[in-house]
């Protein structure tokens, strides 16, 4: 009798659960082009097609945990959030005859700055901007396993040739189609060595290929590429978006890198960093600059605040002033619920309820929420 009752109880419980628990569906928007997004789509998800993902973020740009999650979910869905919309709106409204406008995304660790940048990059890619995208500055400057040489062309600066070549690959991957379409050429002769020259009128793609093949010149190639693109933009030939994630790492006190003669270099002594700093200057037009400062990009002794001047320092502030600071806040209640709906829809979150507790534990930070929900 007892066993029977137990079986019955179990059976009824299972039926009950199935009857009550309907898997919720997250609010989504059909507009796949970020240019169409407006405030009606706020806090909704939109899906980026895999082709765009491979062409944009093949070699970095999305945070690693997020990429793993997208593989699990078999789709890349980004939430349309206010900061990205704000920047996209600015990009739409801006007067491109005036110097570039600089946007700075800032916020706590895990509040979604990099994904907001991904959203903006997607918009820029769709709107035929050339992307001068530095995925994450600290990967240049951290981990002392890199070949660092003193530059032969710029006195006192150090090159990281292989990393620069890798970056050129990334640039080429993102912009090859557009560059072929625009058919941009070099404006002057570049002499690399006695046997290697790039004559005036060479297509930029070729210049980049040269940089990739001859990694020794990759850092110079990066710099030249930037100057050429700036000039082309100013001549109304193309539009460019400079995007730098982990911008404040440019102004860190030290790096992990050592040259062959065991001299520790500072970020400012690296030619790629100087190129990056020159990219965010507003001495060109027909483009825009989006930077992301992140406490995680700073040295671990300097992560107490997420505010931009604390992270970049006075020098960094003066370098990018005037800029439009855009705060990336934690999720709002609607966004938070929609995010959890999405996780439940994807069966990532297998238990309902406990939302208040999750809200308390994660302080509504999306990255924290993702990590917390992984085990639930």
């Amino acid at each position: 009798m007892r066993a029977y009752r137990r079986v019955c109880n179990y059976a009824t419980a299972a039926i009950k659960q199935e009857a009550q628990y309907q898997i919720p569906t997250a609010a989504r928007t059909d507009k796949t082009n970020p240019a169409d997004h407006d405030h009606h789509d706020e806090s909704k998800f939109y899906t980026i097609d895999p082709k765009t993902i491979t062409s944009l973020f093949q070699m970095g740009g999305l945070p690693k945990p997020f990429t793993e999650q997208t593989q699990m979910f078999a789709e890349t869905a980004l939430m349309v959030r206010k900061p990205a919309l704000e920047v996209i709106r600015g990009l739409k409204l801006a007067d491109y005859q005036k110097p570039v406008i600089r946007y700075l995304l800032y916020g706590q660790t895990g509040s979604g700055k990099s994904l907001s940048l991904a959203h903006i990059l997607h918009y820029a890619h769709n709107s035929k901007f050339i992307l001068y995208h530095i995925p994450y500055v600290p990967i240049w400057l951290k981990y002392d396993r890199k070949e660092v040489n003193w530059s032969t062309t710029k006195n006192g600066l150090a090159d990281i040739p292989l990393i620069a070549a890798q970056w050129l690959k990334h640039f080429k991957h993102q912009n090859e189609v557009l560059l072929n379409e625009l058919n941009l050429t070099t404006s002057q002769d570049y002499v690399w060595s006695i046997r290697e020259t790039t004559p005036k009128g060479t297509i930029l793609n070729e210049l980049i290929t040269h940089g990739i093949n001859r990694a020794k010149y990759a850092c110079d190639c990066m710099d030249i590429l930037l100057n050429e693109l700036k000039a082309h933009c100013s001549n109304n030939k193309c539009k460019m978006l400079v995007a730098v994630d982990g911008f404040n790492a440019f102004f860190n006190e030290k790096t992990d890198l050592k040259t062959e003669d065991r001299v520790r270099v500072t970020p400012q002594q690296i030619s790629m960093v100087q190129t990056g700093l020159s990219a965010v200057l507003s001495d060109w037009n027909n483009g825009a600059v989006v930077m992301v400062t992140s406490p995680r990009a700073a040295l671990n002794t300097k992560r107490e605040s997420h505010l931009p001047i604390y992270l970049c320092g006075r020098q960094g502030f003066e370098h990018i002033d005037p800029f439009i600071p855009v705060m990336v806040p934690e999720l709002t209640t609607t966004e938070f619920n929609n995010m959890l709906d999405y996780y439940e829809e994807k069966r990532w979150l297998q238990k309902t309820g406990g939302r208040k507790e999750l809200e308390f534990l994660t302080s509504r930070l999306p990255a924290e929420l993702m990590a917390r929900c992984a085990s639930l």
Partner: protein, 334 residues
């Protein structure tokens, strides 16, 4: 040690007596009568009977005073001045301490209550009584000193010294020589330069929030000397602040006490933006005026506030508003 022993003893007796039962006993202090015989040196060992154990007599005490206290007594007469807690004269069911299993220990034989200072002599009626007693010595409150502002105006300087009373062979205390001089910096007649120089000279002694400069002198052996020295230092500081030395002209941007927009890169960036696509030189930047330029002035204020007051949500938002108005006028209109 002696106090502890006493306590233990009292506690024992208190425990031994049944409640509401007090017995009076008379103890004899008489010693045995001396005998007239000489003492004999006893070489041959003799059996000495062991001394019998002293008989324990109960010490019985008077009932505690608190039991006989009338309800409407004048407390100030029972406890006229500061003294250590005494359980029998305080008619309160006090408990103090910690016991793992039982209630906190009561007041009898409780050293914890004796250790802590008590304010039983400072009950409101006692204070009232005291005040009424010394009232006849008070004079009228001076006119024109009704508020704190009046005090700051008429007596800008405060001098703090401390006297020490001891019941030791010497009445002198080395701490009595220390003199503290407190003065509001706004009480001095200082211009912008002098004020800045004064603040730099005094360093940590100036409190920005209250505008008070504090000078503590303790290097001389007597109070009078310390006071004189403090006043001398204050005078010297005042005159030094008012002089402008030749080397002060070498002040650079990093030495500035405040962020001044016109001397900084920010102005150059703004001028370059306005004059775009013309290239601007340093002279252009210097001669550029933003007097009739509302957007520029808003931007200037925002940058100055951001860098002077430090960044927070408010200053960053203000900066953002100003920059958006400058760079994206279309957005501001919409």
């Amino acid at each position: 040690m002696s106090v502890m022993q006493k306590c233990v003893m009292i506690r024992r007796t208190a425990n031994a007596i049944p409640i509401n039962y007090y017995q009076r006993t008379w103890c004899s202090t008489k010693a045995a009568a001396p005998t007239d015989e000489f003492r004999v040196l006893n070489l041959k060992k003799k059996f000495v009977p062991p001394q019998s154990k002293k008989k324990y007599t109960k010490t019985l005490l008077l009932p505690p005073r608190e039991t006989a206290m009338p309800v409407d007594q004048d407390w100030t007469n029972v406890w006229p001045g500061p003294k250590t807690f005494h359980p029998a004269s305080v008619p309160l069911a006090l408990r103090q301490g910690y016991d793992q299993k039982r209630a906190p220990p009561g007041k009898y034989g409780n050293a914890e209550l004796m250790k802590i200072p008590n304010f039983l002599h400072l009950t409101p009626p006692a204070v009232k009584k005291h005040c009424s007693a010394i009232k006849k010595f008070c004079t009228e409150w001076p006119k024109g000193l009704e508020t704190d502002e009046d005090f700051d105006k008429h007596f800008p300087m405060t001098i703090i010294t401390t006297d020490y009373c001891h019941s030791s062979p010497t009445i002198k205390d080395p701490k009595a020589r220390i003199v503290t001089i407190k003065v509001k910096l706004s009480a001095f007649d200082l211009d912008k330069h002098a004020r800045d120089k004064m603040i730099r000279l005094v360093g940590e002694r100036y409190d920005e929030e209250t505008d008070i400069l504090t000078i503590v002198t303790d290097r001389c052996p007597t109070r009078k000397q310390n006071y004189d020295y403090g006043i001398y230092v204050l005078t010297a500081l005042y005159h030094e602040s008012n002089t402008f030395e030749e080397w002060e002209k070498e002040k650079q941007e990093a030495d500035m006490e405040h962020y001044i927009w016109d001397n900084n890169v920010s102005k150059k960036a703004y001028v370059a933006l306005v004059e775009w696509p013309k290239k601007v030189s340093d002279d252009d930047v210097k001669s550029f005026s933003i007097e009739n330029d509302l957007v520029g002035q808003k931007y200037k204020d925002a940058v100055t506030e951001l860098l002077n007051n430090g960044e927070d949500t408010y200053t960053l938002n203000k900066y953002k508003e100003a920059v958006v108005g400058m760079l994206l006028p279309q957005n501001a209109q919409a």
